[in-house]
């Protein structure tokens, strides 16, 4: 931000200076550019000074302290039924969330400090119970309820799995017992066996019935609990807020999943790209080595050929010397 301000200030000084105090004034195009720059910079700073200040504060002071959707959930749950529109801003250095809600067919606009839950502005009269709302308490409660809900769902899932596993086992056991009894007892004890089988069957049926009853009772209890909760929420006027919250949570999860998928794909792509690049580099290295080897071989062959030539030359010179020496000796002998 400081650099941004420095650059803007520099441009402004240049633009204004170029217009008023230098011979550039004569050149029309530069003058126009100067006026345009200075007007745009100064005008933006003047018109949006409050918003720029907010953004700076959001980046440097309050970043990461509270997310917009949590603040929205909080305000929607505590104050409103249907949020027609909402926005997040800083009012007098307070992170404020403003929503428009409908209560008893009357529209209402409330601006609340997102940290404390204190009402900054309200189009209708503020109720006494609304004055004591605090964000921290709500946030704690929310975290706790979320944890409990998570635990409950996991325990329900585990229980269901267990029941599913248990039921076929019980049937198998009964069958196995029946078979055993049949093999053990003789034909004379058929009646007894039948009685035992009947008894076992009845017991099994009773067990199943008991289980069914238990499941039904559990379901009824759960439904009743949910209904009572829903009624309670309806009474408090929070049902739609809850729906909105659930929708938001679902949307957030979907977004998260999509982001994860995108990240995974990007990682895969990067990995493939890296592999490809490594392969290309390896190929290039191989080719380079081959070329170097070829060059070395060629050089060696050349050196060998040269050495051979030199040896031949030396041999020829030696031969010539020997022939000359011979001739000299012949001449000398003839002279003597």
């Amino acid at each position: 931000m400081n650099t941004f301000l420095l650059v803007t200030g520099g441009v402004l000084i240049f633009a204004i200076g170029s217009y008023f105090f230098s011979p550039i004034r004569e050149k029309k195009v530069l003058t126009h550019i100067g006026i345009l720059f200075s007007t745009l910079c100064l005008g933006t700073l003047l018109i949006f000074s409050h918003m720029i200040g907010n953004r700076v504060l959001a980046n440097y002071e309050f970043d990461g302290k509270i997310e917009k959707y949590i603040a929205e959930d909080f305000v929607a749950e505590k104050f409103g039924v249907i949020s027609l529109y909402s926005w997040y801003e800083f009012r007098n250095l307070q992170p404020a969330i403003t929503i428009k809600v409908q209560e008893n067919y009357k529209k209402r606009e409330i601006t609340v400090n997102a940290f404390t839950g204190k009402i900054i502005k309200s189009s209708l009269a503020v109720l006494p119970e609304e004055k004591n709302i605090t964000f921290t308490a709500w946030n704690k409660e929310r975290a706790q309820t979320e944890k409990i809900a998570e635990k409950e769902t996991t325990s329900i899932v585990i229980e269901q799995q267990r029941e599913e596993e248990r039921q076929p086992l019980e049937f198998e056991q009964i069958e196995f017992e029946q078979n055993q009894e049949e093999t053990k007892e003789s034909a004379e004890e058929e009646e007894k066996q039948k009685r035992i089988a009947d008894q076992a069957e009845a017991e099994a049926l009773e067990k199943i019935k008991n289980m069914e009853k238990k499941i039904a009772a559990d379901a009824a209890r759960k439904q009743k609990k949910e209904e009572s909760e829903r009624e309670e929420k309806k009474r408090l006027g929070l049902l739609t807020a809850e729906n909105v919250k659930n929708q938001r949570i679902a949307a957030r999860e979907q977004k998260k999943q999509a982001e994860q998928e995108a990240a995974r794909l990007a990682e895969l792509q990067a990995e493939q790209e890296q592999k490809r690049l490594a392969q290309i580099a390896a190929d290039q290295e191989k080719e380079r080595q081959k070329a170097a080897e070829k060059a070395a071989q060629e050089q060696q062959a050349k050196a060998e050929a040269k050495a051979k030539k030199q040896a031949e030359l030396l041999a020829q010179q030696k031969k010539a010397q020997q022939a000359a020496a011979k001739r000299a000796a012949q001449i000398r002998s003839r002279a003597s």
């Binding site: 006026i35 720029i52 907010n54 529109y85 606009e109 189009s123």
Partner: protein
């Protein structure tokens, strides 16, 4: 010093010679770019843009009756040539205000026009939409090309400014009433007091009443 005072104070007020008039015109035109571009970066600022637009509109509409009433204060006559540029600036702020409202409420333009709840005459949104349409028409036709095409109809079309003015008054009153919860609060009506003053000035101007303010108060003709 005396030269500076005469150039920048006495001459503009008494003789209506506004210094650097072409430069001011140019700056006003350049300024109208800012809200249109800035609203996409700061959509939450739509309220302040609306307020600025309203103040510029008041300024434009005040110039003519004041120049007709205070005849010896030539500054108002001197400001008359700036009305075109000020009009463009006002329109740009008004359009940016509407766009900001749409962006803030995640409303698309077609849904904004087609929602039956929105076309409720007692809702401030309805009057805002009417104002938005008028502002758009006036801003788009505030150029020499449109004057050449529309000829004598251009002036008639730009009389829509007065309708725009009344539409905006209703828009502001409804917003204030909505915020206060009643029409009876002073806060609802204090924002339109300048508008009432303007209506009075129009009346005075229509009656051709002239107030030579310099002669009356300084007892000296310029």
């Amino acid at each position: 010093m005396s030269e500076f005072l005469s150039t920048y104070l006495v001459n503009p007020i008494v003789n209506g010679r506004i210094p650097h008039l072409p430069l001011i015109k140019q700056i006003l035109i350049f300024l109208s770019i800012i809200p249109m571009a800035g609203i996409f970066i700061f959509p939450e600022s739509f309220r302040s843009l609306g307020e600025i637009s309203w103040q510029i509109l008041l300024f434009i509409l005040f110039i003519r009756p004041l120049s007709e009433i205070f005849t010896d204060l030539k500054i108002f006559r001197g400001l008359m040539p700036l009305r075109k540029e000020l009009g463009i600036l006002c329109g740009s702020f008004a359009v940016a205000h509407s766009i900001g409202y749409f962006l803030n409420g995640n409303i698309t333009l077609p849904s904004g026009f087609l929602d039956s709840e929105i076309w409720n005459i007692s809702d401030y949104y309805f009057w805002g939409m009417i104002g938005f349409i008028i502002a758009l028409i006036l801003t788009l036709t505030s150029n020499i090309f449109s004057i050449k095409i529309l000829k004598r109809y251009w002036k008639k079309l730009h009389r829509l400014t007065y309708i725009f003015f009344f539409v905006i008054i209703i828009h502001i009153v409804l917003i204030r009433a909505f915020n206060e919860g009643t029409f009876m609060a002073f806060e609802v009506w204090n924002s339109v007091l300048p508008a009432l003053a303007l209506i009075v000035l129009w009346g005075v101007s229509f009656a051709k009443i002239k107030i030579p303010i310099l002669t009356l108060f300084i007892n000296k003709k310029p």
